[in-house]
């Protein structure tokens, strides 16, 4: 790798560009996505200071109530307030999504970039490693991790994160290889740039669109994976609520209280929708070709 370090970082020059926010506010899917995502974050933040009821307080006498003035979305099987659970559950879901995708994104992208920068046996090795880890589906590694370290949100997050690594590695490598074949990379090499600098300054920015879109999709999958793990008792542990766990719990009540499954389902759906829209918007906005109007 070259001894030359990149001179200053890419520092998202577009974000800093004066018109960025003005343009962003005119981008429909960015705005809708942004609002939904902001709501998600706000819900999580709000739960730290206020919830209509305590999300841990059980009142078994008033279980499974339909939505009413006192319990806006009704109560669950332990008589807890669904709104409060949803608010607090947002935290766990954000955490799972962000960290699990973060792990996959950072490690997977790094591996993918390394593979395409080094080629040869490094690439071969990394790709075989991803093959190998794909043989362990998320649920399987989660089961194993749980069996060894005990269940819990942290292990669930790590298991999902690990599963994201090969996916990101493959996608990154494929798109990075395409970028490496471009003439502007040859130009950079002709300038004497090292593989590291080229990777950071040319390859990464040019595959960012792919990564952004993939991240938002993976975010959704991570939240749902947490739900599936909770369904198997491997995810978030009680009494900590998470949307996935609420969904999993409501699933056993599908026949008596179908609404209980609808609320967290809708919450997940909205969060995922928001992130996808935000991702699409961000991809457009960060693309200089689409960004500037003359």
């Amino acid at each position: 790798m070259s001894s030359v370090l990149p001179n200053g970082s890419q520092a998202a020059p577009l974000m800093a560009a004066p018109g960025f926010w003005r343009r962003a506010l005119r981008h429909r899917s960015f705005v809708i996505g942004g609002v939904l995502t902001l709501l998600l974050i706000l819900a999580g933040a709000l739960s730290y200071v206020w919830t209509p009821w305590s999300p841990y307080e059980m009142d078994i006498a008033s279980k499974l109530q339909p939505p009413s003035a006192s319990h806006w979305l009704g109560t669950d099987v332990y008589g807890r307030d669904v709104v409060s659970l949803l608010l607090v559950g947002a935290r766990a879901s954000i955490l799972v999504g962000v960290i699990a995708v973060g792990i996959g994104l950072v490690v997977g992208t790094a591996l993918g970039l390394l593979a395409s920068a080094r080629r040869g046996w490094v690439e071969e090795g990394i790709m075989r490693l991803t093959d190998f880890s794909l043989a362990f589906p998320a649920i399987l590694s989660a089961i194993m991790m749980t069996a060894v370290f005990g269940p819990g949100i942290v292990n669930a997050i790590i298991a999902i994160g690990i599963y994201n690594i090969p996916t990101f590695a493959r996608i990154t490598r494929a798109s990075a290889n395409a970028v490496w074949a471009r003439e502007y990379v040859a130009a950079a090499r002709a300038c004497g740039k090292g593989a590291f600098a080229i990777t950071m300054q040319h390859v990464l920015p040019n595959i960012s669109a792919v990564l952004i879109v993939q991240s938002t999709i993976r975010f959704a999958i991570a939240i749902l994976a947490e739900a599936a793990l909770s369904y198997l008792g491997l995810g978030t542990q009680p009494p900590q609520p998470s949307w996935g766990r609420m969904l999993a719990e409501a699933q056993t009540m599908m026949w008596q209280a179908p609404l209980l499954a609808v609320f967290p389902g809708v919450a997940i759906g909205l969060a995922v929708l928001g992130l996808n829209l935000l991702g699409d918007g961000l991809r457009d906005l960060l693309d200089p070709r689409l960004a500037r109007e003359r």
Binding site: L134, A135, P137, V148, I217, A227, Q251, G265, G269, V272
Partner: protein, 316 residues
């Protein structure tokens, strides 16, 4: 071609060796053992000890590893601790469900995704596109067990067209087997199809910008025929890549849906076997999965070459 095959086989072997070591080590860490699990809490301790001896659990780890690997090489996978029957039999039984299920789910996924993806791309940025992609967006966000229950509610409980779960093997006839797997396959397919549809759409859009599409249109080929006859096959490379990933995922990642439909699938077997500490089954299943993933990758690569004549098998 043969070099390519040779490389592939080498890869397979290396992957399997690595898998065997890691799987064995990881499983060694698991607390508890099969004898204890099988005998339960109220069992007499000496009965538990007798069972442990019978199962060979009291031997040192490396001996057990060696027995296992030696067994693998001679094609003897050993007997399940819990069921007492040969692992190979057990696994084959499960595969006779899991593979058809995965194939059906993948087939449904592909058909749904291609129709939705291509249609959306053809109506790029029009109402149809926005609508279909919105639907795909929703599809991605639906938890599949939730969708599975809705399917059961509609088709099994209300309409009583299908049974609500269970699978009695192919002995009852192919039609009955397919019928039993249809709802599970559908509930697996919806989420995957939503993802694949998005990828299909963008791949098709990309290809639609290429010059040869214009050439085809200049020959008088209609818009539709261009889309299905010329564009789609060119757009298949990224689609097939994702399909390969999804198929690998389906092979073992269907535990939840198997649960909802109470299907005896491979995922459930692994899950059960881990909780029963039937480690001999787990080990062999994971090996099988690893082998299958490598094989699926291989199939994907062969498909690449079949789709795109520019990629000869020798270049892979």
């Amino acid at each position: 071609m043969s070099l390519f095959l040779f490389k592939r086989i080498l890869t397979l072997v290396a992957t399997l060796i690595a898998t065997s070591v890691i799987v064995f080590l990881v499983l060694e860490i698991l607390p508890g053992n099969a004898a204890q699990m099988l005998m339960g809490a109220d069992a007499s301790p000496d009965a538990v000890a007798a069972l442990a001896t019978k199962l060979g659990l009291d031997q040192p780890a490396w001996t057990r590893y060696w027995h296992w690997v030696a067994g693998l090489l001679t094609g003897d996978l050993g007997n399940s601790y819990a069921y007492g029957s040969p692992v190979s039999e057990l696994v084959l039984e499960r595969l006779s469900l899991t593979i058809p299920l995965a194939v059906m789910a993948m087939g449904l996924t592909t058909v749904l995704a291609l129709i939705v993806g291509v249609t959306a791309a053809a109506r790029h940025n029009k109402l149809g596109d926005v609508g279909l992609m919105g639907l795909a967006q929703v599809g991605v966000a639906i938890p599949n067990f939730w969708f599975a229950i809705l399917l059961i509610l509609l088709f099994s409980v209300k309409l009583q067209w299908f049974s609500a779960g269970g699978f009695d093997g192919w002995g009852e006839g192919v039609g009955a087997g397919i019928k039993a797997l249809l709802l599970p396959a559908l509930s697996l397919a919806v989420v995957q199809a939503a993802i694949l549809a998005r990828i299909t759409r963008s791949a098709v859009l990309e290809v639609m910008r290429e010059d040869f599409v214009r050439t085809a249109r200049a020959k008088g080929v209609s818009q539709r025929a261009v889309l299905w006859g010329h564009v789609l096959r060119n757009a298949m490379i990224p689609v097939v890549t994702v399909m390969g990933l999804q198929f690998s995922e389906l092979l073992a990642g269907t535990i939840v849906v198997e649960n909802v439909f109470s299907l005896p699938g491979l995922g459930k077997l692994i899950f059960q076997s881990i909780s029963n500490r039937d480690l001999i089954v787990v080990r062999n299943c994971v090996m099988l999965l690893a082998a299958m993933v490598v094989i699926v990758n291989f199939i994907v690569d062969v498909l690449y070459a079949a789709i795109d004549p520019r990629l000869k098998a020798s270049d892979l």
